[in-house]
């Protein structure tokens, strides 16, 4: 009979990693099962934007805490606090900006409105067609591709067992513990956390849960290294552009434009039809990009549920099973909400409330 873990986490991204670390630090014997490699999903392929200006109002307290954790991780994750500017290029966007930033400011983000003249001072290479803008000194970015290596270090330090390239193909909970079937054998654990991002729906189905999880396919592009153009994180009033230039001179362009594909197909692809407006918006905001070449565009899955708030809490109707995912702004918020989840699993009261998956009908089947 194989060893019995106190907690098995399915999913080796930021959320699963942070929850596993907290649980292990609290004394639980913990294992992380990852179908690919640590941080190879959304945790590793997102644009790395740490901007409070694009966070949802209700999630702002979590984003502020998450931001602090990334700042503490510092160089290990390529953290840079640069400040960020959000731009509006017409009256409609200006109204949207004013309305949204006021609410985000009320929620605790130190956001202020700035004039186009101030934008030109801060970032002389931005378009002069700005009609309104906001500024947040807290904003910045980190290097998402380091997420896997960073959490590997943390998990190792916390004594968590890591099994990579280990997909879970079936879950049996008849014997009082969860028995997780993998190609490398069965893993047994008394508690189970599903934190597998866009694959949450499939993992939930193994427990008989019908989770209302869908996946967006976000596109990110990077240019080759070039001369300095911008120093801050640049956004757009609609949220459909994020842009920053790394210290090495490459420019990262995101904004959530949709590619094609799905987790079920196992792959996603850049859609030239959405890449084009994404890049055009970037060029419009930073005209000097016309001297740059794009070297790569890629896509990653971002899971969500109909209300676009997290699934974070006990799995409906299944003792000792927990769900964590669908966190909008998950890169920023992930380290924090993951730790809160670890607290919940340890039986402690989380510092901030979680988001009960029971708000959705999930039809837990008898297993």
């Amino acid at each position: 009979m194989s060893a019995l873990y106190d907690l098995a986490v399915i999913g080796g991204g930021i959320l699963g990693g942070a929850a596993a670390c907290r649980a292990a630090e609290g004394g639980m014997r913990t294992i992380v099962l990852e179908q690919q490699t640590l941080g190879s999903g959304a945790s590793g392929v997102n644009a790395g934007t740490l901007s409070l200006q694009i966070k949802r109002v209700k999630l702002m307290p979590y984003a502020i805490k998450g931001h602090e954790l990334w700042e503490q991780a510092g160089e290990r994750v390529g953290f840079h606090k640069t400040g960020g500017i959000t731009l509006a290029f017409n009256q409609r966007e200006a109204e949207l900006l004013h309305e949204r930033m006021a609410l985000k400011r009320e929620a605790g983000a130190p956001i202020q409105l700035i004039t186009p003249a101030r934008v030109a001072e801060l970032e002389p290479n931005l378009s002069r067609k700005v009609v309104a803008a906001s500024w947040c000194a807290q904003d910045g970015y980190a290097n998402a591709s380091l997420s896997g290596a960073y959490y590997r270090t943390l998990l190792d330090a916390a004594g968590v067992d890591i099994r990579e390239r280990t997909p879970v193909t079936a879950i049996d909970r008849s014997g009082g513990a969860f028995q997780l079937a993998t190609p490398a054998g069965t893993i047994r654990a008394t508690r189970l956390l599903l934190a597998c991002g866009a694959w949450l729906k499939g993992a939930g189905a193994l427990l008989g849960l019908d989770l209302p999880v869908r996946a967006r396919v976000n596109t990110v592009s990077v240019t080759e290294r070039g001369p300095a153009l911008v120093g801050t994180v640049i956004g757009h009033a609609t949220g459909l552009l994020t842009l920053k230039q790394k210290p090495n001179g490459s420019v990262l362009i995101g904004g959530g434009w949709q590619g094609t594909g799905s987790p079920d197909e196992g792959r996603s692809s850049v859609d030239p039809a959405t890449l084009l407006p994404n890049l055009r918006l970037a060029m419009f905001a930073v005209p000097g990009l016309d001297r740059f070449r794009v070297v790569r565009s890629w896509t990653g899955f971002e899971a969500n549920v109909p209300d676009f708030y997290p699934l974070a809490g006990a799995a409906p109707g299944i003792d000792n099973a927990f769900l964590l995912g669908c966190v909008r702004g998950g890169y920023t918020i992930g380290p924090y909400i993951g730790a809160l989840m670890g607290d919940l699993i340890l039986g402690r009261e989380p510092e901030l409330p979680l988001f009960d998956p029971g708000r959705f009908a999930t039809t837990a089947a008898a297993a």
């Binding site: 080759e224 290294r225 070039g226 090495n248 001179g249 016309d290 001297r291 740059f292 070449r293």
Partner: protein, 92 residues
């Protein structure tokens, strides 16, 4: 390295261009990478990483080592035919 590495005679007219301010000539229609290489201008840029010289390597649009700036835009010298009056700057 001395002299011109061209073999055989040119079939097209000679055109003038500038590389980092220096006035040079080439056979019209040959690529910038070949023209510069043949006349001993083999260093096309200085590496940002080690400060060492870099030049054309694959001559077929794969390696990106021969990237230069033409009118400020980054371009592969091995895929750019030399034209009269071209102004080429190395990338540093």
């Amino acid at each position: 390295m001395a002299g011109d590495l061209h073999i055989g005679s040119a079939r097209t007219r000679t055109v003038s261009f500038r590389f980092d301010g220096e006035a040079l000539t080439a056979r019209e229609g040959e690529t910038l990478a070949a023209a510069l290489y043949a006349q001993g201008r083999r260093t096309l840029r200085i590496s940002r990483d080690d400060g060492g010289p870099r030049g054309a390597f694959c001559f077929m649009g794969v390696c990106q080592e021969c990237v230069v700036a033409i009118d400020g835009r980054l371009t592969e010298a091995c895929r750019t035919p030399v034209r009269e009056g071209l102004v080429v700057e190395s990338v540093r």
